[in-house]
Structures are given as C-alpha cells and as structure tokens.
Amino acid sequence: MKPPHFEYRRPSTVPEALADLAAPGARVLAGGQSLLPLLNQRLVDVGRLVDVNRITGLDRLTVDDDRLHVGATVRQATALRSPVVAAAAPLLVAALARTGHPQVRSRGTVLGSLCHHDPAAELPAVALALDAGIVVADGPTVPAAEFFGAAFETAVPAGGLAVAVTFPVAPPGTRAGFAEIGRKAKDLPLVAVGAQITVADGRIVAARVAATGLAAHPQRMTATEQALLGNPADGPAIAAAARAATGEIDPDLTLRASAGYRRRVLPAVVRRALDDALPTAGAVAA
C-alpha cells in the first residue's frame, strides 16, 4: 500500500505548472484525496506529479461579476464553511456536507472532484445543475454540460490544467436540497440528487436539478425541473417532479448496484432532495 516511484514538481505559477505537465505521464496533484488512494493501491501509474498546491492565487474564493469563483486549491472544507458559498451556491454547500469525511474534505478540493469525475461523485452533479464553468489555463471556459465525458474523463486535455470553477450567483429566495442513497454514510452514493430551487411569492421560479450515480456522467433532470417551474412550492409539485424523474432517465450504471435498483429508488431520492430544499412543502407519501 505504498505509491510507486514518480517525479515530483512543485511549480509556483500556472505557466510553470503547464511546462511541468507537458511531460508524458504527468498528472496534477491538488487535494490528492482520490489520486493518493489510487496510487497507494497501485491502480494508476504516474511518471510525474505536478503539485499545484503552492501556486499563488489558486486558492481564490470570491464573488465577481455575479459568478462565484472557486480556485483549484480551494478545499472542500473551506467551501463548506464559507458564508460566501452558502449565499451564492447553496447546492454546493448541501452537497459538500455529504461529500467524504471531514478528514478528507480538509484536503480534497471542489475542482479536483470535478476533474476526477467519478461517475458516483456528488460534486459533478452540482456543477451540472448550476451551469458551472470550468476555467482551463490557456483555454476556453468549458460549460459543465460539455465538461464530463465517460467515467473519469473530462474536457481538460492531456497536459492541461483546470484552474477554477465558477458558478452563477443564486438569486434571493433560493434554497437547496441534497439526498443520496448509499451503502455507507459519506461513502460514494449509489444514487444522489441535488436540487436548487428559487421561490418567489410562493411559486417556484427557478429549478435546477441533477443526479449522479445513474450513468457514466451526471444527468441534468430537465423534465423534473419543468414539472416544478411555475408551481406553488408544495407537496403536489414535489410529487409531480418525482414522477417526471422516473420518465426522463433510464439508469444504465451497474457499479455496486443494478440499473433496476437505481431506477426504482430514483423518484424517492428526488423527493427527498426536494423535501430537503422545500421543507415547508411537507413530506409527500410515496
């Protein structure tokens, strides 16, 4: 359970990091909470680790121009405790509370989870639901909808470096809910759903819902969102949304549970996420 040999580089600027990453077999080391387990178990091999933790400015966590900016080395624990994040992207906070253990969130980064892209991880669904943008050094900002490829693959090119993820700032009256079913608390879920809902004058005026654990990459649930929009924030709206969820996604992931199990539990997880987001709506019978 020890990592194989590799070269180690610790650049202090993004251009230095890109130069270090140009070598074959080079890989980015940020929080390391997914990469180190893989290295320790020798499930991956790397020629060189490029440790980006000392690059100045990558720990930026600010709101600018109506976008929440989360730099590549912002720890999950930092984001979870941040009042700025809680106000701007409540779904990110709701999901982070379910992401890993506190001892892992102290090192794990928000962006690292997106770039690792485990098909069961929580944060990619958050990025998709919130229309996040992933800022790639010397490249375009990639919308979350175009970022996630097959499992463990993303739009970051070989030798590239994602430097930040940005989220639109939520309008007033926005609440979030997150629910998941898994074999163990804090472990990767089997199915997880995140919802960020904006209510004005008692009616749902914005709904962002996405799920993870259903397929090779996270799924935006547009039919579920449509079922909520314009309706009062109440139990019947939640029930209608859970029904819509059943119709819009046919899970095909079979990792640790069958696709049929995922199909069966999805509406319940949607309902729990929405109950969490809209506690005043009241629980709805199955």
């Binding site: 180190l36 440790d51 001892q103 804090k186």
Partner: protein, 162 residues
C-alpha cells in the same frame, strides 16, 4: 528515481528537517523517520482513519498526503496532543467511557476529536457523528466513543439503556 527532496516541518512543536523520496507518505515520515509510531497505518488508502493527524489545525489522513506536501506545515500527532501536560480532556473522556478496546483506531480518533473541539468547543451531535464517521472501529461499536466525545464537549453523557 531516488531523488531526495527536503522537507522542513514542525511536529508536536519540534522543528524537523528531512530528505525524503517523493513517494514517501506523511504517515511513513512520522513513523519511520521520526519514530512517532503512535500514528497507526491501517488501510493505507483513506478509508479507516487510523492515521489521522492534525495538520495546521485540520484533521487529515496522513496516508493520503505525501511527506513533501507537508513542507512548511505544523503537524500534531497523538504523541503531541497533550504537549508537556497531563492527558487532554479528549483522552480522559475516552478513558472514562471505555472508548477504546484494542486501541488501533484510537490515535486517529483522538486527533480528529482534538481538531473538532479546537475549532468548536461545543460541537453538535451531528458534528460529532460527522467526525467519527471518518473512523472505523472494529471493537467498541462506537457508542462509547460517542459518549467520550460528548463528555469532552462538556455535554451530558447518555446512560446505556439496560
């Protein structure tokens, strides 16, 4: 491949300098180079929590960090939580409540609870559970560890149901 990198860090208040291979884990620096074998390595891939130490105030898995990444950091291990003083309220509470049996997971539990209580002297039950979720204990069934955590947090310790 045997390039050695300098690491300067403070462990339990004592400054140390070491030259380490890049792949050396922080847990192995503590145990093998500094002789601090109170940090226990269980699973070696971040699941069990036994190797948890406090790094710059935060609880971290020392098996999921390279030693070289701790350069410039301050680390507290179970050997250092009490400093030169008597055992801490966390340690005393684990003793009082039989919050350990074989003791393998205990150093990590002590470090996590120490970090939790340093950040928030009155954590909620939810925060205590959240922290202890990060530790596997195959002996106690966790109830006595939870009781110890509540005692250390200055809260009533529930009696075991008859």
């Amino acid at each position: 491949m045997s390039e050695l990198l300098p690491v300067v860090l403070t462990v339990n208040g004592v400054p140390h300098t070491a030259a380490v291979p890049p792949r050396l884990l922080l847990a192995d620096l503590l145990r093998e180079h500094l002789g601090l074998t109170g940090t226990h390595l269980g699973c070696g891939h971040g699941t069990c929590g036994s190797c948890t130490v406090v790094l710059d105030g935060e609880p971290v898995r020392s098996c999921l960090m390279l030693a070289v990444q701790a350069d410039g950091s301050s680390v507290t291990t179970v050997e250092g939580v009490a400093g030169d003083g008597p055992i801490t309220p966390v340690q005393q509470a684990i003793n009082d409540n039989h919050g350990m049996q074989c003791g393998f997971c205990t150093p990590g539990v002590v470090c996590s609870l120490t970090a939790l209580l340093d950040a928030d002297p009155a954590p909620s039950d939810e925060a205590i559970t959240d922290t202890l979720d990060g530790h596997l204990c195959r002996c106690t069934g966790y109830q006595n560890i939870v009781k110890a955590a509540r005692q250390a947090a200055g809260r009533p310790v529930p009696e075991v149901a008859p």
